[in-house]
């Protein structure tokens, strides 16, 4: 019997990479640079890319384990620009692919980079079920309130009145509220940030990465080409307001009463009802076993019940019953 079959998904660790350096030299973020980004100069997505580099560098995620997944959109070009394993998948389904990848490869921390159309329009359902099941991954939606790659159509987050090629007289449909959507879906980590505050954005990415289960970050990321100025109201340098959620410290002080408890779902939802620019930070976080954990439990139980039999013995037993 093979010990490795005790890992979620047998064999994930079977073939150790021979010759893999035990203690590879630390890498720098410039080492992660790959293709020159095809984004427009000034696009908010550049910040996210840089932050991802910084995150990897800071955490020294083993080079060969960095795995970046995306769908289709300007934002989803991300994997080409990271010198690491990556997938550029189809529109709207990055989270679905990442679900299979994460569950079959619990040794990875999969990062998904998506756009507002990719995630909330065509991909809206996959998001929700991955969140509900708490499949371990981090999803960053680079939300520019517009379809960038296809050149300015209305997106599910475009505000009413936004003039696009599919709403030449202004968008008429109330937009999706990503925070509400994800909290209601049962995501266990839900945060909001903006590319204009890289410090904050990086903090959110770090916390998301440390979270067990499905973590979600909406990061406002300006499309300078098709929706310039969209987020000025959230940008102090443009006269706007970037209000950071103050989280409860449980320090017994009276100020703490007013602070937000990220484990309070109803309170998180209430925060999400604030009008634009709203607040930034962790709206909701809950400690729950991830789907990956729960499936591992099923495996452990089943293997114990089977006396840890190997595949041949197990199948032979089944066939004996079918005679």
């Amino acid at each position: 019997m093979n010990n490795a079959t005790n890992n979620a998904i047998a064999g994930a660790a079977v073939v150790a990479a021979p010759g893999q350096p035990v203690q590879p030299a630390p890498y720098k973020k410039v080492d992660l640079k790959s293709d020159r980004p095809t984004w427009c100069p000034g696009c908010g997505d550049f910040t996210l890319l840089d932050l991802y580099f910084r995150l990897c560098e800071r955490r020294q995620i083993p080079r060969e384990k960095i795995t970046t997944v995306s769908g289709i959109g300007c934002s989803s070009r991300f994997p080409y620009f990271v010198q690491a394993h990556g997938v550029h998948f189809i529109h709207g389904r990055a989270v679905a692919l990442a679900s299979g990848l994460s569950l079959s490869r619990p040794d990875l921390h999969v990062f998904v980079f998506s756009g507002d159309g990719d995630a909330f329009s065509i991909g809206g359902n996959h998001l929700e079920h991955a969140a509900r099941k708490n499949i371990h991954m981090t999803l960053v939606v680079m939300d520019n309130y517009v379809y960038g790659l296809t050149k300015k159509q209305t997106s599910p987050t475009s505000p009413i009145g936004f003039k696009s090629k599919t709403d030449p007289t202004g968008a008429v449909d109330p937009p999706t509220n990503p925070m509400k959507k994800l909290i209601a879906a049962g995501a266990t980590f839900v945060a909001r940030t903006s590319h204009t505050n890289p410090q904050h954005a990086l903090q959110m990415m770090e916390r998301a990465m440390d979270h067990n289960g499905f973590s979600f970050i909406e990061c406002l990321s300006e499309c300078v080409e098709f929706y310039p100025g969209a987020f000025d109201a959230a940008n102090p340098r443009k006269g706007g307001q970037f209000t950071i959620i103050e989280e409860k410290k449980n320090d017994g002080t009276p100020e703490d009463q007013k602070r937000h408890d990220p484990s309070d779902e109803a309170a998180a939802y209430k925060l999400a009802t604030l009008p634009f620019p709203g607040v930034f930070g962790v709206f909701y976080q809950a400690k729950q076993p991830s789907k990956n954990d729960r499936e591992q439990q099923l495996i452990d139980t089943a293997r114990a019940a089977a006396g840890n039999a190997g595949p041949l013995a197990s199948l032979q037993k089944t066939f004996a019953r079918l005679k």
């Binding site: 979620a8 010198q83 041949l312």
Partner: protein, 601 residues
């Protein structure tokens, strides 16, 4: 024949039983009567007795159940189809009698329940045996059970009629009842013994199967096609799958969901078919060969993602248990009409491997083969099973699991600095490096659905597209060269060659056998590899005046079924025609023979 013979004696005891090689029994009642249990026990018993067996059942239209049949064909020789006509018809109700008497052969035996059925006793074509199954069961079981247990009475009756080994059968009944309470099991045995004890001497005939001479001594296993497929995948080392429930494929996911944890694997019930195939692709990218199983509508939904797997060259096994189409169609009936979408169903030039098992045993081996092909060619492989194969039970030689069962560890071998995920080699086959694989020079691969250069990055040069398109096609052309040419059953040349695929294999092959026995020989050939096609078919076709493709689908706009159209396109042989049918039912042997003659006119 004695009424007092001890049903527990352990050996065949019925005197004067006529030796037979083949019997077709149809039990017609309501699905609630437990006729499926009887049928399955009979099938399993046959397997254990080294008889070949094939079963067929219908599924009632209402969710709560309703009229339903279970048909078993047991043979000492190869059983290729479930039988055009039946030798014994058991009719529980008047509607059972009326709907099914038409399939009883002249000289066959009708067993009816006179408590429920008034047959036309003037019809002397059949031996009509009234067995008051309802009242005798109630009597045997003891009032309160009502007629629950009627099915077990019938099993006993059949055991006597075909001189089955009751020790074996009772042991099987015990297994079956392992989780049932003692009272139920007592009633079960009481009913069974009452049935076995019932004197059917009036019909003047008991039977005994002569031993199967073809058997090699390996035991038979008895299972349905969906089971065979699920276990084949496990044997091949598949440890991840994802699907969304859909009839008639759900059983595959249900088995894998229950079984995989035992093997350290898991199966994901996804929110829809698109998510399922994408999750399987994710696991494929992670270094697995993963599976997604579905039926027609689900295959339509998976089209886009399968296209990505073709483009990104990711291993993936897609099982389509075909049912009547298009759209929701006939969810519980069989059809072979998804060949077009399996081969052509993707935008762009989108070559993928398509294979079809021809029976339950082949379902087991095909799923293993699909895994190997997917892995070796780094390509999606679609397996076209169908409702008939998926649901019917067959006995087949226990596979040599020692040789077959394998693990499929992820290959993390570090790659050199010259590693390119889409290198344009003569064979055209990529060997992907999953995440976790170190790459010298840190030159990591991107897998993508955009047209790409050898490194997996989108290029501006239009030449990439020509090169990569040719590479993806060439990969399958190379595979085609290695495929075995199918064998011809019957004369190597002649008037007519029957070409089958998937579940039309059995009836087509049996039609050839019958025609040979009748001195008007037809030949038969089954194509298991549908895309790419195996080599050598042209030479075989050249030796026949007519090539008739037998397939359960429509004859199409221009008069040809789906495989026939593809063969015509490839070989431009105008002698290729078809025998087609779209009524949700497998071919009867007779239908094929009649069509051959009708087209000869």
């Amino acid at each position: 024949m004695s009424n007092t013979s001890n049903p527990n004696s352990g050996t065949a005891v019925v005197a004067n039983a006529v030796p037979i090689k083949d019997a077709v029994i149809r039990i017609a009642g309501n699905s609630q009567d437990g006729i499926q249990t009887v049928g399955e026990l009979l099938a399993r018993y046959s397997g254990r007795s080294a008889q070949e067996v094939m079963s067929y059942m219908t599924i009632p239209a209402t969710i709560s159940g309703g009229p339903s049949i279970y048909q078993v064909r047991i043979g000492s020789d190869e059983v290729l189809s479930v039988g055009d006509e039946v030798d014994v018809l058991v009719a529980f109700y008047q509607h059972s009698y009326e709907q099914h008497i038409g399939v009883l052969r002249n000289g066959g035996v009708l067993i009816y329940d006179p408590d429920q059925v008034k047959p036309n006793l003037d019809d002397k074509r059949f031996a009509c045996v009234g067995v008051p199954m309802t009242s005798l069961t109630i009597e045997a079981v003891g009032g309160k059970g009502r007629d629950k247990g009627k099915n077990m009475f019938l099993l006993g009756l059949i055991a006597r009629m075909f001189d089955l080994d009751t020790v074996k059968l009772e042991a099987m009944l015990k297994d079956w009842g392992a989780k049932r309470d003692a009272g139920t099991m007592e009633a079960t045995f009481n009913a069974f013994r009452a049935g076995y004890g019932f004197d059917i001497g009036r019909m003047g005939q008991n039977f005994r199967f002569i031993p199967n001479e073809r058997r090699t001594g390996r035991p038979l296993v008895v299972m349905a096609g969906n089971q065979a497929m699920a276990y084949g995948l496990i044997a091949a080392g598949v440890r991840f799958g994802a699907a969304y429930p859909i009839t008639p494929s759900s059983q595959i996911m249900e088995i894998l969901r229950a079984e995989l944890p035992k093997y350290g694997g898991m199966f994901l019930q996804a929110e829809d078919e698109i998510a399922a195939v994408c999750a399987a692709i994710g696991a494929g990218y992670g270094g697995r060969v993963a599976v997604t199983s579905t039926s027609g509508p689900g295959l339509s939904l998976k089209t886009e993602a399968i296209g990505w797997a073709v483009m990104a060259e990711i291993p993936l096994v897609v099982i389509d248990v075909q049912r009547g189409g298009p759209s929701t169609g006939l969810p519980t009936k069989m059809e072979q009409s998804d060949l077009n979408i399996a081969i052509f169903g993707g935008h762009g030039d989108c070559p993928r491997i398509v294979i079809a098992p021809r029976d339950v045993e082949d379902a087991f081996y095909s799923s293993i083969e699909a895994v190997d092909l997917a892995r070796h060619y780094s390509s999606p492989v679609i397996i076209l099973s169908d409702q008939a194969i998926g649901f019917r039970v067959e006995a087949f030689e226990e596979p040599d699991l020692d040789k077959i069962v394998r693990e499929m560890p992820i290959d993390f071998t570090p790659r050199g600095a010259d590693f390119k995920p889409y290198e344009d080699t003569p064979e055209g086959i990529p060997h992907h490096a999953p995440p976790g694989t170190p790459i010298a020079n840190n030159n990591y691969p991107i897998l993508t659905g955009l047209e790409h250069n050898e490194a997996g990055h989108p290029g501006e040069d239009p030449k990439f597209h020509s090169v990569m398109t040719a590479k993806r096609r060439r990969k399958l052309q190379k595979l085609a060269e290695k495929l075995p040419t199918p064998e011809v059953f019957g004369p190597a040349e002649g008037d007519t060659l029957l070409v089958s695929w998937g579940s039309s294999y059995g009836p087509a092959r049996e039609a050839a056998e019958k025609s040979i026995a009748a001195g008007e020989p037809l030949s038969a050939l089954c194509i298991r590899y549908l895309n790419p096609l195996p080599p050598g078919l042209d030479k075989i076709f050249d030796r026949f005046k007519r090539i008739l493709v037998v397939e359960n689908n429509d004859s199409g706009l221009y008069g040809f079924g789906q495989l026939a159209a593809i063969l015509r396109s490839r070989y431009c042989n105008p002698r290729i025609g078809g025998i087609n049918k779209a009524d949700g039912l497998s071919f009867k042997v007779r239908e094929i023979l009649e069509a051959v003659h009708a087209q000869a006119r």
